[in-house]
Amino acid sequence: EDAAEESNVSAELIAHRKRLVDEWNAWRRRCKDDLAEERKKKGTEVDGEPGPQEETKEEIE
């Protein structure tokens, strides 16, 4: 069923969707970098435990 539907979809639409996915994935990667950066700034480990220097870091900002 899905395969049948897919074959009816124009090449143009497939290319359009591919572009949307590529854009989305590239943006998601940037977000993940931002998030890692923000957590480092916060002095928070990736799995959520507050780091020891959290308070001093906050004052510097």
Binding site: D2, E6, V9, I14, R17, K18, L20, V21, W24, N25, W27, R28, R29, C31, K32, D34, L35, E38, K41, K42, T44, G48, P50, E58, E61
Partner: protein, 334 residues
């Protein structure tokens, strides 16, 4: 995908929330009760009794230790999830419309309503997690009054010290919780009241629903609109499905503005949209009134909807949901 019907509320649902593991679902309603249910079989585990008015909002921490609730009785309450005991009550001059925990479970943000000479306020409380949880500070750590349109929904942003808000005017904004400054806004995020705001699993983007009949996906950092999901009905709730590229939207016209009854029964639908392609992929019928609140299991294995009809419907996704690849084989990052 046969839903499990949770029957226990006598009036319309206001907000539902899964815990982090997804084994529990919390539900709040206008009948002043809060319930907690096992999601696998729909059995009611317990209740949280103590509010004297509509419970507008709830949130549960990531350890399933504390539940927070906000009510039309002007109180915000902290509960022990396991025992149902109320641990602490904060009182305000007006109703509490929205509450949310932060990622570390040590702060709560809440919105109180604008009424009778009181401005709408956003408050952040530090939560003392030591011991039983009964010893909390009465005063907020931070408080501010958003100028202009009042805030309707809020959440902690992943960026340090920033609170994300949605407003009656359709605006979304970022506030510095320490100074109360609006550091960024998008005035035209929606054309009407923002009714729900739910974060992506990592918090870097979020979805909003609005009375303007659309739901939108936004970048948390820039507040830019990434995607728009237009419908033909005012929306009350929107959720992001983890692990699959879908968003779920719910709403519907109020019963009063609908001319017929029986013919429309059970016709209120949860709409599934492709998150990236902005195309509707399916609808799930069921409720006898507008859908007020939608939540998705954190593992993406089920979703639940709470309706104006007083029912919560838990839908466990079947195998085809995971297998089907609408629009081909492309790998889409969560």
């Amino acid at each position: 995908m046969r839903p499990i019907l949770l029957q226990g509320h006598e009036r319309s649902l206001t907000q539902i929330k899964y815990n982090k593991e997804g084994d529990l679902l919390f539900s709040a309603s206008k009948d002043i009760g809060i319930n907690v249910w096992f999601t696998h079989n729909g059995e009611r585990l317990g209740t949280y009794d103590g509010h004297n008015g509509t419970v507008w909002t709830i949130d549960v921490d990531s350890q399933s230790k504390f539940l927070v609730s906000g009510s039309a009785d002007n109180c915000m309450k902290l509960w022990n999830v396991a025992t149902g005991k109320c641990l602490y009550t904060w009182e305000f001059p007006t109703a509490v419309k929205r509450v949310a925990f932060n990622e570390d479970d040590d702060q709560i943000v809440c919105i109180t309503e604008q009424r009778m000479g009181y401005q709408s306020a956003v408050r952040v409380f530090d939560i003392n997690r030591e011991g039983e949880g009964t010893s909390q500070s009465k005063e907020p750590a931070y408080m501010f009054n958003p100028v202009g349109s009042k805030a309707t929904v809020c959440a902690f942003a992943f960026m340090n010290d920033l609170i994300l808000t949605g407003h009656e005017s359709g605006k979304i904004a970022l506030f510095d919780m320490k100074t109360g400054d609006e550091v960024l806004n998008n005035e035209r995020a929606h054309m009407d009241t923002v009714t729900d705001l739910q974060l992506s699993p990592d918090g870097t983007y979020f979805i909003t629903s609005s009375k303007d009949k659309t739901a939108r996906l936004h970048d948390t950092k820039t507040l830019a609109v990434l995607k728009t999901y237009p419908t033909e009905t005012p929306l009350n709730s929107a959720a992001i499905a983890p692990k699959r590229p879908y968003v779920l939207l719910g709403g519907g016209q109020e019963a009063m503005s609908v001319t017929t009854t029986s013919a429309r029964q059970g016709k209120f639908e949860t709409r599934f949209w492709h998150k990236v392609f902005e195309e509707e992929v399916g609808r799930v019928k069921g409720h006898f009134g507008p859908i007020n609140t939608i939540a998705v299991h954190p593992g993406g294995t089920s979703y639940s909807s709470g309706g104006e009809d007083g029912f919560v419907r838990v839908h466990h996704f079947d195998e085809s949901y995971w297998k089907v690849k609408p629009y081909g084989d492309m790998e889409i990052e969560d």
